[in-house]
């Protein structure tokens, strides 16, 4: 792979900024704990060399914890029992390193045994992986390919059976009327049938449908809208062969058929300077889904990376908001490609260079009317899109008033968008209001039919993640009754 050998040597050996390290923290409490350890923790034998940082940190036990970070990744290892990733020791160590309190070791030879072993193991694995790829490309096993094709066909049939069954349920529901819509267990049972049919995308939609009956004023309209889109998806899958390929890919992914990221990355990739616009975690109790939004400086394209972690545990991949990385992405196929897989990282993540480097820390934005038009156009490609990532410029947040929800208004006070009702319940909107001070702001977020969900705002040279919006507002959040909904005309 072109450029592999370059990994890390240029971009990564430079010291990271403190903000950059802070951005890696899985949550506020580890951030705080790491800050304490960095300021005061008893560190010994710490050093940095060859793209790695290591150190011993004395905790309450008799043996100090051994923390080591491979900056090419980054990847972390610590002998502490914490299940957080990275743990506070690794973070504290990185903070010290970023603050210049960890000296560069003279040569690789200075790496202590315990750190060297892990690093060597990691890099060996990476090389094996790299070596294995071309081998797979070179020697496709015809028998194995046939077997894979047979299994894929079997799954397609199962899903089609599931989709047909779901169609029947929707038809029954509509025949008897939404007023008689069941609640709870019936939906859960249908969702379980979809899981059996190997269609997790359909199962998730069914669970969302189940949350809608009697969910507040206007629920029949919301239920009808979501039922009809589920119907559209079922029909799409049942007639997959009649669809143009990009739309077929969208249908497959929405139903729950996954595409192998490694295979995707073997295909064509898009290299750019990607600015991290936001990183947001949603925890549904079983799985933590991390969504990372990127914007390419050269391509002017948005991309969404997804990473997953077991319940209560932060996903390993973390890209702090406001940093840039020179990297290759591969978009998942679809009619409105947005999700991407992260391939080779050539440099970074690092703080954007200043004026001289002419790197933007705020991507070009749009007005609210343009954003609405862009969402409309996107829906024409992918009718199931809940929202698209946009940067809005010159908008003023207007707090809720009685039954009227939050708005983002044009600075001239003419027109306004409603904020997503879930956003209005979080602390992030108050942060946004505080940053605005009643004046216009630039804000990045997700623009959709339920309103705008602010994720990051840019103010006076600083990038402010609107952390409070994360709670319950993630992608899997049930569609709530839009408060007032008045700002849509």
């Amino acid at each position: 792979m072109a450029g592999r050998s370059v990994v890390g040597m240029d971009g990564l050996s430079e010291r990271w900024s403190v903000d950059q390290v802070w951005g890696l923290a899985p949550d506020a409490s580890s951030r705080t704990a790491a800050g304490k350890l960095a300021a005061a923790g008893p560190w010994v034998e710490s050093g940095a060399a060859g793209g790695a940082v290591w150190g011993l940190c004395r905790g309450s036990g008799s043996r100090p914890y051994q923390a080591v970070v491979d900056l090419r990744g980054p990847a972390y290892k610590c002998s502490c029992p914490s299940r957080k990733f990275p743990c506070k020791h690794a973070l504290g160590l990185l903070l010290r390193w970023a603050q210049g309190e960890v000296a560069d070791a003279p040569a690789e030879a200075a790496v202590p045994q315990w750190a060297a072993e892990w690093l060597a193991g990691r890099r060996e694995k990476a090389e094996q992986k790299a070596a294995a790829r071309p081998a797979a490309e070179r020697a496709p096993d015809p028998a194995a390919a046939a077997e894979a094709e047979r299994r894929a066909e079997q799954r397609r049939q199962r899903i089609a059976a599931g989709a047909a069954e779901l169609e029947q349920r929707l038809t029954d529901l509509l025949r008897d009327g939404l007023a008689a819509a069941p609640r709870g267990a019936v939906w859960e049972e249908t969702a379980a049938r979809m899981v059996d049919a190997q269609a997790p995308g359909l199962a998730a939609r069914v669970r969302e449908l189940g949350a809608l009956p009697a969910s507040g004023p206007g629920w029949p309209a919301r239920l009808l809208a979501e039922c009809s889109l589920t119907h559209l998806l079922d029909q799409g899958f049942l007639r997959l062969d009649e669809l143009p390929e990009p739309l077929a890919a969208t249908v497959r992914s929405r139903v729950g058929l996954t595409v192998d990221a490694a295979g995707l990355l073997r295909g064509s990739t898009l290299r750019d300077e990607w600015l991290v616009l936001a990183q947001e975690d949603a925890d549904d109790g079983k799985l933590v889904t991390r969504r990372i939004w990127l914007h390419g400086a050269g391509t002017e394209r948005m991309a969404l990376l997804l990473a997953y972690g077991a319940a209560g545990r932060a996903p390993e991949q973390s890209l702090p908001t406001g940093l840039v990385l020179d990297a290759e992405l591969a978009y998942y196929p679809g009619a409105y490609p947005l999700r991407a897989a992260l391939g080779t990282v050539h440099a970074g993540p690092r703080t954007p260079a200043g004026e001289g480097g002419r790197q933007r820390t705020v991507p070009p934005g749009a007005g609210i009317a343009e954003a609405a038009a862009a969402y409309g156009a996107a829906l024409a490609a992918d009718p199931w899109l809940e929202g698209i990532p946009v940067v809005l410029t010159d908008v003023v947040p207007v707090p809720e008033e009685g039954d009227e929800g939050w708005q983002l208004a044009e600075r001239t006070g003419g027109r306004a968008l409603p904020l997503h009702p879930a956003a209005g319940r979080g602390a992030g909107v108050w942060q946004l209001l505080a940053v605005s001070g009643g004046g216009p702001v630039t804000v990045f977020g997700e623009f959709g039919h339920a309103g705008f969900r602010p994720l990051t705002t840019f103010s006076a040279g600083t990038t402010v993640p609107l952390t409070g919006t994360a709670a319950g507002a993630g992608a899997g959040a049930p569609i709530a009754a839009p408060k007032g909904g008045g700002a849509w005309r």
Partner: protein, 569 residues
Amino acid sequence: MTAGTQDLAGSPAGGWGELVAAAVVGAGRRGVDEGALLDAAAAATVRRRAGLVPGPARRLPEPAAHDPRPRLPAAARRRLAALLADRSGAGGGGRRGPTPDLAELIPEWLRHAVECGYQAPPELLPPLLDAARARIDLRPHALALAGPRGLWLAERAPQWAPLLRDGAAGPALPDPRDAAAVRALWEEGPRAGGPGTSQVRSALFAEVRRADPAGAVELLASTWPAEKAEDRLAFVELLRTGLSLADEPFLEGALGDRSRGVRTAAAELLAGLPGSALAGRMAARVRSLVVLDRSEEPPVIAVEAPYECDAAMERDGLVATPPAGMGERSWWFGQLVAAAPLAVWQEVFDGRTAEEVVALPVADGWRPDLLAAWSRAAARQHDSAWARALLGTAPTSPPGEPPAFTAGGPGASRPPAPSGPGRTAGGGENVPGRDPARLLTALPEAERAAWVAEFISAHGLSEAFRLLGACAVPWPEELGRAVVDALEIARDGGSYPWSFSGVMGLAERCLDPSYAVRLEPLAATHEEAEESSPGAAGYWSEAFQRLVATLRIRAAMRDELTTPAALRP
């Protein structure tokens, strides 16, 4: 698709509303095909979503007032974020580990940042206001740092409304010199009622009292009869600021108040004014009760406790009924002496100084009562000479023991050695009610610290907590050294560190941060002495680690805030 189209071409029966209506009652009943209904609904849904256009904006908020103060340096901003994040986390039970408790450092950080004249970063205003709402002690500095933008935000958020009602927020109150505005708000209060009015009026009154003490009394007198008892009490307490003889007529009037709390508070204030008529009456009373018997050598103080508590005494604030287990006469006597101006004793005892008076023997076991009452008087009247004399005879048993007041009491007392808290270590005198922590407040700061340092050197830490609390922060060198030495002695004594966790906590917040270097050797694990409690050495080193770590963070906090502007990132 044209923005704004919402008519549903293709669904003949009209719009989305029709489709929903059909779906609600059931396609079966309408004679519609379910699949066709779903098809139409899907098309309509996508069309509706794609056609959404912005609606009319409500009135934009008034922009917040400009804050001319400089922004925080980046490191200080991160520090504030970490401090505020820790406030909600951690806390709770569990053993104090080796890592510092950041929430305890918030007050110091806020005080510093306000002194340095910074503005709060806007994005941190929400957690800052949350902290101000949760902790009253943080409120004044948190709101000062939050500044006009914080106020602007709080005005728009129901969750922070309590901060505005408090009066601590400031601008809601008129200029205390604007008599008309002050009077309008003052008089509106009792009529308006509702939650918070008392606080607003208290805040207003405190402001006016600071700016114009006489004007404040006039304001209060104008509505006095209509005020509720609890408000009257609160306002009288606020007169402590700027108290002078000019307040005497008003306070004399309050001695006849319907509420006992108000009467007691007024009497207490008058007793603190040595030139007041009440002080004069008290002086006259004690003069007839305490005399110097010059026939003895050395002369002896003779006490004749009062036989009754008459109406005039009650009006002057005496409480007639003693607490359970205490004799009436010594109860009344103690109250009279505590309310009498200390100057009277020079006259009674032939011009002797406070120190000489305290050294005189007392007949019939009245010494403890006298010392306790004098101590209360010294603290109340902020008389440093008397406080010094009384502190000189430092108690050797804990100050908070159950009262031993009895009319008889111990026999004739010995004269204690004068001066020096450490020197009377063996002179066992148990004087309840003589609270050294309160007495210390009558001393200048430097002297206070010196006294406590000497006390700790002599007696160790077991009684030091309240005394240390009376000292100014950061502790001066000699006090810091005394505390650290005493901690080291306590560790060598083999007990567990949590017996001293109160003092440790104070040391973390009050020691000068430069002490960290000298403490480091203590943070290393020491060999366990044979007689010490199991594991104690490890816990001590952990406690010292925590102390060192906290001091380090405090030093870093200061550096981050005081980095010169030119070096700021």
